[in-house]
Structure formats: structure tokens, C-alpha cells
Symmetry: D3
Subunit: 297 residues, 6 copies
């Protein structure tokens, strides 16, 4: 069960209202790499997890991510506060309000007109948050890797936001949030490697004939070699014809019942394309007439 205290985990001091900057910050509120995605990711994993250590870890971090969602959402609210009041009260004339709305730039008009200046669960382009952003699948050797990757991505997006923000109070809070992603990544790494073995993920082994094969399918100028495709680590197959039907003839077949067979044949006969015809087409009908064309079109 959750409890809440009105103090934030990190103090938010915004130097001046700026709806355009607020809108960029939405990436980490309602964007794919943002804090709602993080909180939902760990919280849902925690509910499905039975291992006591991982369950505790996931719930600890889920709770912190909710607290981060509150920090970034509060930054957005502060940045929008001035514009929100002006639009709600209609204190300026319309042309002036329209100009300030357009001038704020990027997609901040959505936050103003649709959400009234409140923080919304959209990204900076107005895309609604959706649960497809969460890639948990209920296996710890996969989910922990997904969490490690998610923390990496969130760290980078915070880095970019810091790079485009010159408000010292916001930069300070963003740096805290960015740093916490580094801490979380370290914990998830520890948890992954505390499962042994954890590679290959899951239970079924791979087929040893194909586990260390590398298909060099993109060729031409720019072909390169490194440990990821070196023949010290992999059996490299570079010929296209050798890659096809690696196990046989590369064909496809299904056994049908007689009933199914006859239905399939009837459909084939009804919808067959006649390769010997050269039919007049709709494009022919629609083409601009050539001047000396004497057809009746």
C-alpha cells in the first residue's frame, strides 16, 4: 500500500515560466522513456514477481519513480503557471494570447488549449502515453535486461534535456533525476547477475547448429568486422545462397483435408490472374489523351 507526503523528493526552483520548455519536459513525464513508464514497468513486474529479493527491489524503485514523476510533473506545472492563468482568465486581448501561444513554440499549444496548462500524459510531440512502451514479459532474465536498457535510455533523455535548459534550478533537479537512473541501472545489473546462469535467457537451450552462426546479409562497400561477427566467435556465412534454406530447401507446405483442399482450389480458380492477358486498366482510362490518339476514350 502507498502513502504520500507533500514534500517532493527533490526541490523544484523555476526561474521563470516558459511553456515551450515545459513541453519539452513532457518527454520525461508522459513520454516513452519517462517516469510513468518507469513506475508502471517496475510496479507491474513487482506484482508478478515471487522472488523476495527482486520483488522488494522492484517495489522500492517503482515507488521512487512515482516520486520522480511528481518532481518532473511539478517542474512542468511551474513552467506553465503563468500561461495557464492568463488563458483561463482571458486577461489579454485575443490576438495577443494567440501570438504568445504560437511564440512559445513546439507543441505547447496542446498543453494550453487542451490541457489548460496542466501536466498531461503525452510526450513532447503530443503523442498519448500508451502501455506498449512497457516491454515486461514476466521472465526475470529478460525483464531485468529490459530494465537495464530502460534506465540507460532515461539517463540519455535527461542528459539531452539538461543540454537545452539554462534555468539553474531545473538543471539541478534534472541532474538529480538523471543520476538516479544510473543508480537504478546498477541495482538491476546486480539483480540480473545474481541469477546464475542468466544466459541464454529462459529455460530452453538454443539449437547448437545455429547459436554461433553469423549471416553476413548486408554486403558491399562498408562491410566491417569486429568481435560481434569475427570468425573467432562465429561461423560466418557470407553467401546469399548458402543462407537460404539453411536446413533444407526453404520451401513451405501444409497438409490440408480434402474439404479444405477443394475450397482452396475453388478460390484459386475464381481469383486467378491471367498472365496471358494485357487488359485495359483504370489507369489507361484516366491517362491524359495523346493528341493524335484515335481511340474512343
Amino acid at each position: 500500500m502507498f502513502a504520500h507526503n507533500k514534500r517532493l523528493q527533490y526541490t523544484v526552483r523555476v526561474a521563470r515560466a516558459n511553456p515551450g520548455l515545459a513541453n519539452l519536459m513532457l518527454e520525461q513525464f508522459g513520454g516513452p522513456q519517462g517516469e510513468l513508464a518507469a513506475a508502471c514497468r517496475y510496479f507491474t513486474q513487482a506484482l508478478g514477481e515471487d522472488d523476495p529479493g527482486r520483488k522488494d527491489l522492484l517495489m522500492d524503485i517503482a515507488t521512487e519513480e512515482l516520486s520522480h514523476l511528481e518532481v518532473i510533473g511539478t517542474i512542468i506545472s511551474m513552467l506553465n503557471k503563468g500561461g495557464k492563468g492568463k488563458l483561463a482568465e482571458g486577461v489579454d486581448e485575443q490576438a495577443e494570447l494567440y501570438r504568445s501561444l504560437q511564440g512559445a513554440g513546439n507543441d505547447s499549444h496542446v498543453t494550453s488549449i487542451l490541457y489548460g496548462g496542466g501536466p498531461a500524459l503525452i510526450n513532447s510531440g503530443g503523442q498519448l502515453w500508451n502501455a506498449g512502451y512497457i516491454d515486461s514479459i514476466g521472465d526475470p532474465t529478460a525483464d531485468l535486461r529490459s530494465n537495464i536498457a530502460a534506465e540507460s535510455r532515461a539517463k540519455i533523455v535527461y542528459e539531452r534535456l539538461i543540454n537545452v535548459t539554462d534555468d539553474p534550478g531545473i538543471r539541478d533537479a534534472l541532474t538529480f533525476l538523471m543520476t538516479r537512473e544510473i543508480a537504478h541501472q546498477q541495482s538491476f545489473e546486480k539483480a540480473l547477475y545474481s541469477i546464475s546462469p542468466n544466459f541464454p535467457p529462459g529455460k530452453l537451450p538454443g539449437d547448437p547448429r545455429f547459436t554461433n552462426v553469423y549471416f553476413n546479409l548486408s554486403q558491399g562497400e562498408g562491410d566491417a568486422t569486429g568481435s560481434w561477427n569475427a570468425d573467432t566467435n562465429f561461423e560466418v556465412i557470407s553467401t546469399f545462397t548458402d543462407s537460404m534454406g539453411i536446413d533444407g530447401d526453404g520451401s513451405a507446405s501444409v497438409t490440408l483435408t480434402p474439404d479444405e483442399q477443394s475450397a482452396v482450389q475453388a478460390m484459386a480458380a475464381r481469383t486467378q490472374s491471367d498472365p496471358s492477358a494485357d487488359p485495359m486498366t483504370g489507369a489507361d482510362l484516366g491517362r491524359a489523351p495523346v493528341l493524335d490518339d484515335t481511340t474512343t476514350r
Copy 2:
């Protein structure tokens, strides 16, 4: 540029048509962990990548994932072939077709009625594929971790499909596809660790005050300890009040211009809630009257 040969990378032999099983296979065709997501993930990363080694690796694997999409899609087509013909030709009476549609189970009715038995870019629950499944952000230390995680997830979903399929030809092809995810994961791991350093991801360092702090925010029975939150690795903060306002008082503020200030005040005055009132409400109006109630409702 791409070329195509009609031979599949792996042979597909389906023992009998089965629309219900076809529908489960959609998870790896148009589902979040499926081959379209994989192909698009690596292909778009390849386009944005300048490092010659990674660009080549990403395009090699993207091309193979497209070839896998073809294999899994062909399995689905084979499994649906009988039902497709029967529905298109209407060879059975309606009640019989309705029963066979219902009997196939899960969401296979969507494949039949809407997609006519063709493989569609939906998952096994009918959810349309969307690009939110792809989490690339244009930084190699994050994207390679995302790729490692994605390969892990795809491996697991193939493992589950193998566990519920008793058709030997399909199991064989699924095992090939599953194995290739293991191979790909190994290549992406090599590529990640060929960047040095790769942790923390990106360029900005974390704030050392918070990089190794662990907030124990979920407490009570079930609290657990491991290397992921041990005080040998982290400074552990377990008191809620110590977690709040870790840098100061945890408050939020913004400096407004006088114009903004007065608009905000006007809005506050207009929309204030009166804490001293105990108003009659719509719920009061709608409540069932108590028998001896003498009010005028």
C-alpha cells in the same frame, strides 16, 4: 538496397491447418516482441548510425529479421490456408462456418473475418502493431542495451510458443528462430562492450552525491537485502522523512511576472473551493430517500 529470393531462410512444414495456433503465432509476427519490431528496430538504428562496425552489424541483423518475419508469416499463412478457402468460398452452411470460427478459439475470428486468413500486423490479442514498441533513442550505449533486452524477450516468447505447439515442423522452425535471437544477443553484447567506457551511458557524469544511494521506499514484511541494495554497494536510506527533499525542503516554486501573478490570483479567486461550506450535492439529490425523510427532495 534490398533483394529477395523466394526460398525461405528455414523450411516450413505444417502438419495440419489450425487457425487457433496461427493466431498465437501472431505474437512473433505483429506483436511487440515479434520480428517486425526487431527488423524495424535495427534498420532504423542502422540508418542513423555512423560507426562503420555498428552500422554493418545492425543492417546484417535487420536483414535477417526481415527474413524471419517471412518465416513466421509463412507459418501463419499455412495454418490459416484451409479456413481461408472455406470462408472465401462459403462452401459450408453458415451455422457450420460460425461454429468452426468460434471453435478455433482465442482471437482467430479477427484473422478470419477482418483479414481473410492473411497474416496481419497484430498480436495474438488483436492489438495493432505500433512503433511505440521500438525504443531506439539514437545513442549506441543505450540502443545496444535495448537490443540485448529485445533479443532476450523474443527468445522467451519463442520458448513459450514452442511449449504450446506439438506440430514437429513448426517446433523445428520456431527453435531455429529462437536460437537466432541467442546469436544476435551475443553480437550486440560484443558491440556494446567494444565501446569503452559504456557506463554510465551517454556523456554527462552523474552527481556523485546520488549515484550510489539506495532509497528503501517499500518497507514492511518482505523487505529483503542483496547486492542490489546492500550497504557494501550503496548508501541505503530507509527513513521516509530522510528521503524527502534530499537536497533541501522539497518545495516547488516559480517566479512569475506581475501580469502572470495577477492572472493566477484572479483564477484562484474565481475557482476557490470553500472549505467552510458543506454544500448539498448531486449525490445528495440522487440518493434514495430514507423513509421518514421529511426534506423536500
Copy 3:
């Protein structure tokens, strides 16, 4: 800032695992009327709210809804626990696992194959949760009405789930959750009516010419009268021609610059449809030939 305790707000006692029932419960976990939607709704409103009373109320209830999300998610996890273990370990033969997957019914195959038995942020039909479910717009006289409506809807969906569940422990927990929606609705009603006036919502008054007009636009057998369209409360307009162009001629116009005008005319000329032609069409080309048809088609 949030804290968490591992005890649930309400005890969850599940009599036996049942993936089909688990899947129905997803409506209140990741469905449009579910607890994530509720928690996000009130939490985001709280962040944007300045009125101290409403801000406190919204955060109190947001925190409780998160705790409810945990309760319903825990029910789902318990119901899926048996099936999750069996699929992960592949303990039964494949045909048996396939049959049990199909037999569980509704969309529970998605939970098994894609999410590994963990609770996912989808509804019972597999639709991904998205933030379009949240209708907050940053005005308290509208948002509180939206909250009242949302609590009503959630109450009804719980009622339906109770009606189809015979597990006493689950019914007990669902009844608690349903009851809390009633309590929350009462609080939001109090908060709405503590703003005076709150109707019409917002600041701008309506145009008195149209505020109490009722257009009777659906006519014929079944036309009915009640206080919602009675002429004691409304000026009723029942003639279609009287409803059109209520203010004038109902036409549309825009003033264009000469440049724009000439571009529009050029486009009109280029794309005009010739009403005097009766052209042969693609459908004509594709039509089955009539037997005595002597054209060369």
C-alpha cells in the same frame, strides 16, 4: 513523495487459480475504467492544482487508487500463478498446454504467451492502456465533474465483475474496491459544490439566445418528452428548416488574398469533375461480361 508498505490495503484470498477470470479482472487494472486510469487522473490533476483543498483531496485519492491498483493486480497475479509456472517450466506436454491455454477462454492467451502470467496494462480484450482514457483538462469545474463520472463508471464495472465471480475472497475484495468508488464520488461531489458558482463551467457566459433552446432533430415514432426537453424548461424547435442557419443563412465564406484566390481557381480547374460526361470506369472494365456482349473487352 511516495512511500510503500508491502501489506495490501485489503486482503486478497483466492480460492483457486483461473486465468480466464484473471483476464476479466484486467478491466480494472489496465482498462479504461480501471485503477491506473483513476490514479493517473487524480495525480496529474493534483500536480496542476493550486487550490490547497482540492490539491490535498486529489493527492489523497490518487494515493489510494495506486493502492487499489496493487490490490487488483495482486488478484490477477494470484489467479495466474499456476498457469504461469506450468508454461515457464513446460511441465506438461505441448498439446496439453495448448488445450489448457485455449480452454481458459477469452483473451487469457495474451496474458500467458506475451506477458508470462504477469499483470499487464491492457484491458480484458488485449487493448493497450492509453492516456486518452484520462479526460482532465485543467479546469476544476470540468475536472471534478469528470471525476464524479469516472467514479460512477468504475463502480459499475466492479459491480459487473462481482456478478460473474463466485470466489468469495475475490468478491470480498471487489466489494471493498467498488465501495471506495462510492466514497470517492461523494468527496468529489462535495468539492465541486464547494465552488460557487460552478455552472456553467468556466468563466465565459453562454449566449442567452441559445442557452435554453432544444433542437428536436430526431423525430418520428418514439419522440418523447420529459423535463430534459419540455417547453417549460426549453424553447423547443422542431422544424428542420427552422434549425438551419439559426443565425442567418447557414452559408460559409472566407476572404482570400488575390494570390490565394488564383491558386484556388487553378486547382478547381485542374480537378473539376465534368457533370456532363458519362465516362467508362474501372468498374465497367471489371464487370463480368454479359453473354451477348460483343465488345472487345
Copy 4:
């Protein structure tokens, strides 16, 4: 059945073309609070409704909302008319067209490039309209509350658009549309309170132990009191530990069959995290080497 007349319900006079303003207007065309959502909301409710009075009311207003969709869509078409012609005919040089496209601001480039200046069912941020915006659930005591809330929201969004528009003809039409939302809200209120009782919504009563309980879960500076959480109206629980396990111990349990039990145990053993290990991790591998580091990395 529907009929249509080419006269609009309200006259549209646009002073000059303005694609940027057109794009803002999309909020009420293809946005979540717009007229398509309203029309679909009432129309689908009407189809499912059996009560003659409500069915008639819902169809009357659905028909009017379709007519409003036509008015707002016509405004958008008029505002885009000039730009549409210029782009279709390519009358200006490319750099000039690019500049005018960028200069129009907000997301109007989508309307130009993708939709060719026609009104599209997107909101002002380019988000595709989706049926998740409609919250009807087939119970009149909930749906009428949802309709009341929806009318409130639409009223507010029109108010904001009026506040940023200085074209008198558009302001006039928007004021008409805004006013109609007030009228509709009044009708839906009448219809709701014509059902008696209507609170709590639905049929099942709440559990009296929890109907008037208020959990004060967000505490600290800023805690406030009003009729919505006053102990005159509610039993207030302010202690976190009293809120947990309100009915018992707040634990979760499920009874598994022996087969399920053993599968769960096998999975637990296979995927257990070892709390006593302190493994080297991927992050350790990727960390920048410390200069005097003598490990074998």
C-alpha cells in the same frame, strides 16, 4: 435514419485564411473533447438505450453534434483554403512555400503535407482520434454523469479557443457552439435526476463499513480540510498503518493444485536471485577504468 441539408446550423464567416488558427480548431473537430467524440458518444448510447425518453434525447443531441462537427469542420476548411490551393498548385517557389509552412506554426504542417488542407480527425497536436475518448459503459446512471462531464469539458475548450481568436465571425460561431454545450448539459442533468434513486450508480449497494471512510494518505505541509474529507461527513483514517489491511492482514494468497505448486517451485528454484552473491555485472565491465586499477578488466 439521417438526412442532411447543405445549410449549416450556424453561419461561418472567416475574415482571412490562417492555417495556424485552423490547426488549433482541430481540437474541437478531431480532439478528445471535440464534436466527433460527442456525436459518437450520444449516438452509440442511443442505440443501446431502451428507455424511450433517454433514447430520444440522446439521438436528438447526437444529431445536433454531427451538425456542430460540420460547422467546426467548415471553419477549418475555410481557414485552410488559401494554403491548400497554393501547395496543390505549387504556385510559389519551394523556399517560399517552406517558409510559409513553417511560419504558420504549431502542427499545421501536418494538415498541409499529409491532409492537403482538408479537415482531419486529429487534434491540434496531430494525435489521431480514437474511440478510447468515449467512456460510455451502458449504464444510464454512469453514462449520464459522463455526458454531463463531457459537455463541461467541451464548453471549456471552446472558451479557450474564443480567448485566442480575434476573427469576429469565428468567435461568433464558436460562441454558439459553446453555448449549446451549456444547453446540452442542462438536458443531461434533467435526465439523470429523472432516475430515482441514481446514487450510488448501478444496483449493488456499497459495503457500509467503507462507504463513508476517508483515507488521509497524502500528508505533510499542505494537508487541508473541507466538506469532502471532514469528519462530519466521513470517518477519517489518518494513520498509514491503520489504512493497511483494513479488513485483516493485507496479505495475498491462492490455493494451488499440487501440479501447479510443483511447477511454481521449479520456476522459483531456476530463477532465484542469490542474495549472498555480489556478482560482477555488465555495468562493471563497461565502467571507465580507474587509472591505478589493477583488476584484469
Copy 5:
């Protein structure tokens, strides 16, 4: 402006309630090929159209499609009527209601639990309707072709529904709806070919060097020839190397400013992959130890 009459365009006589069949019918209510998509398609095109003939045609058919939406939605409501009442009133015991819900099959549980038996704007798989189904782009030579295609698709989906329905009254109504798609297709064909020329669509001509080239990029067994790729109609290029860089060397380049250049180089240096390294990886750490392995892992 729209008006409505409560008589349907076509009479709906349903022989018996059947929630499973109702759910299949949702394809033509809230599915991608359904009547809402059709109505929205033509209505939005009509608003943006200036040609008097096409504008009238589009609005005529849009109005009819709304009337069809009403017919199919009424069929769904009738089919759900019995189940709706039973669930709302909870007249059966819970286990019985659960069984009947599961027994109805396909995704009808969503309609029952979430939508209370009312028709919802989802398809038969529970996917929410979204405006991405509408492909209008504001050019008549493209949009009319899109409309022709859309009518074809809707015709086929009705055909499939007829094939699985044995209720004579429903088959009768579906046949009417299917037939109207044929009629509409004919009208749109006439309108397309009344624009002359209409091919190529739009204004800009193609580059004559590439207008009649055919790239034979999928080769191997199964290569086929017909009028669509015959060298009587096309210049056929069958060699992969001839297809690449058809205009030059197929390379890509951009001119950067010195500032940009140096930033790009800094990024390349920082994130370069070292092709000469063969680093230990996370997968290596996680791999199951080989028995006689003497490394320090």
C-alpha cells in the same frame, strides 16, 4: 445540417439474442472497414471539397453511411439485449453468468463487462477505432481511388459476415448493406473518371526515365510474368547490381558546417566501437559455467 428519423433505413429482425454473433458484427460498426470509418471518410472529404458535384456526392453517401452505422449498431444491440439485462440485474448466480460469458466466445466478454452490452466503437478483437483507418489526403484523384478501394473492402467483410450468419433477418439486412457498397463504388468510379486526366494522380509528372521500369527484386523459384511486369509494358531490370544506384553510385552525403563537422567527429570518437577488441560481455558473465572451467567467474 443533419436531421434524424427513428425509422431505420432497413428493417432489423433478429431471431434470437447471441452475444458472440454480436461481437463479430462489431467489425462493421467500429472496425477499420466499418460504417463509422466510411461515414467519417466521406464527411471529412465533403467538408474539404470545393467541386460542387463531388461535394454533393460525398455528403449524400456520408449521410447514408451514418444511416448504415445505425442499422448495424441496432443489430448488435438486439443481439446483446438478453445478456445485457441478465448481467445488469445479476439474475443468475455468478458461476452461471461466468459460464455464459465464457461460452459466448470470441471477444464478447469485452462488450459485456466493459460496455454493458451497448455497441462500442471497437472491432471484433476489441481494438479501439482510430482515425488512422481513414486515408483521405485532400486530393480528389487519390481520395476517389481510396473510396473505391474502401467500398470494395467493406463489401468483402459483409460477404464474410453473411457467410457465418444463419439468422435470416440479419442476413437480409447484411445483404442490403453489402449491396449498397457496390452501388457506392459505382458512383465513386463515375466521379473519378469524370476528372480528366486523372492519371498520374496530382499535378507533377513522373520522371520518364523511371515511369515504366520494373525492378525484379524477388527472384528464385516462383518468378512469374504477366502484363504487370512484362517487357511489352515495362523496361524490366532483373540484376541486383543494376538496380542499385540507378542514377549514380548510390551513396549518401551531406555538407556540414565546420561547427557541425567537429561535433560529429567528437561524437564519433566518444562512441566508437573498437573492432580490434574482443571484450568480455554481460552474456559471458551470465553463461552457465562449464564444468572444468577454471576462470574466476
Copy 6:
């Protein structure tokens, strides 16, 4: 199976980096009319197709569209290359980077902040690509028409992009891509008309009573006539009352079992609206008090 060569199908020469232009190009990368949609459309149709000619054609063109996706994606990468480096390295001060981000215009901030300058599968408004853009339904007479329409639309969007681009190298590549859509349309037209008959699409004939009827449902000033609704081609019905219940009385009915009947009646009684009441409502409670109002509100 697919192979790839690093040479592009068409050479890409970009004169200077321009993130704003890059963002517009996204329409043909991750937009509804773009190359991913095209490739997926033809590839999935090819997998489900049995006719040898069509299968080959679809796979040839699918492979080419993938190659086009690579060309347009490469253009986007080149246009973003400068900005990507600068943001990743943070070489300018923050205020400068913020200004350049805002100045690039349209939605290019999303590409920068979220995707790091890499090409993403979104359109120019930030909307995630989704499979609802693909309208294949598994019937060749419908799907080929859909393909013809899709090629038309793609041609037009390329035309618009050419109209707003003054970089000669990009215009050159866009012209190639646009031209190929013309070539593809011609092939699909040939393939459609090689099926005979192909109209009406599918197998079931229409009901001859309604195949050539035209309902003139949108009337008033602007009514127009052409071959699409002329009485030489259609039986035109212009009277609203004649359009309703075209086959009978236009009513709707279902036969219920006695159990269902009694549940429906119970629900009707419980939720009936009382047309004789004129209840006080929530809106009445919320209305601003009239000055001389003496009620106790």
C-alpha cells in the same frame, strides 16, 4: 529471404543539414502514406497470396519499397546529422541549443530530444506509426484496389514534399521515389484487371433491388447532378420518407427467452426516467444565485 547491399537504390546528396525539413520528410518514412506502410502492405499480402503471378509481383514491389524506406530514411539522417552531433556533445551553451531547437520548427524537437536525431517511425506530427494504416483484407479484388489507391496517395504526398523543398539533391531523390509510385500503380492496375470479372469484388452478388439505387440524402442549395447520380445510371430516391424502411417499416426487433425478457424488464423498471418529474439538478445547485433568491441554497 532477403539480402542487402549498402549502396542505395538512388543517390542521396543533401546540400545542408536542416532538422525542420527532416521532420517533414518523416511523413514518407513513418507516416500513413510512407514507405514502411507500403512495404508492410505488399509483404503481408505476398505471404498470404497463392496466385503465383500476384505473389511474385507483391514481393518484387515490397522489396523495392523497403529500398525506398532506406532512401528516405537516409535523407532524414543526413538532414539531422549536424544537430544530432551538437546535442549529443552539448558543444553549445544551453540557451543556444534551446534556441536552435525551437527555431528548427514544426515537430523536429521530438526527433532531437527523444530520438537523438535518428529516423523514427513517426509522421511529421509525432504520431507513432501503427498497423491500422494497412488496409489489406486478404481478397485480391479488394487488396489490389487498395494498393492502387495507396500508390496514388503516396505519389501526392511526395509531390507536396517536392513543392516545399529547394535542395536540388533531395528534390531529385524525391522525384525518383514519386515516379516509382506511378510505375507501381500501373502494375497493380494490370494485376487487378487480369482477374476477370473483378467487379463486384468478392463472390456474392448484390441484391439487384439496391445495386443501382442512389439515395439523395443531402439536399438544399448545392444539390448537383453528374454521371455518379444521374437517373440514366441509377434509380434516384430523393424523398427522405421514401428512403426510410426501404424494405418494410424500418423497425428493430429481437425474440427473447422468457428469462431474458424478465431481466430486461427488471432493468427497465429500475432505470426508468420519469418523464413527469422536473427534478432539481446538479446544474441548479451550481448555478450562480440570483440576487433576490431566497432559497436556502
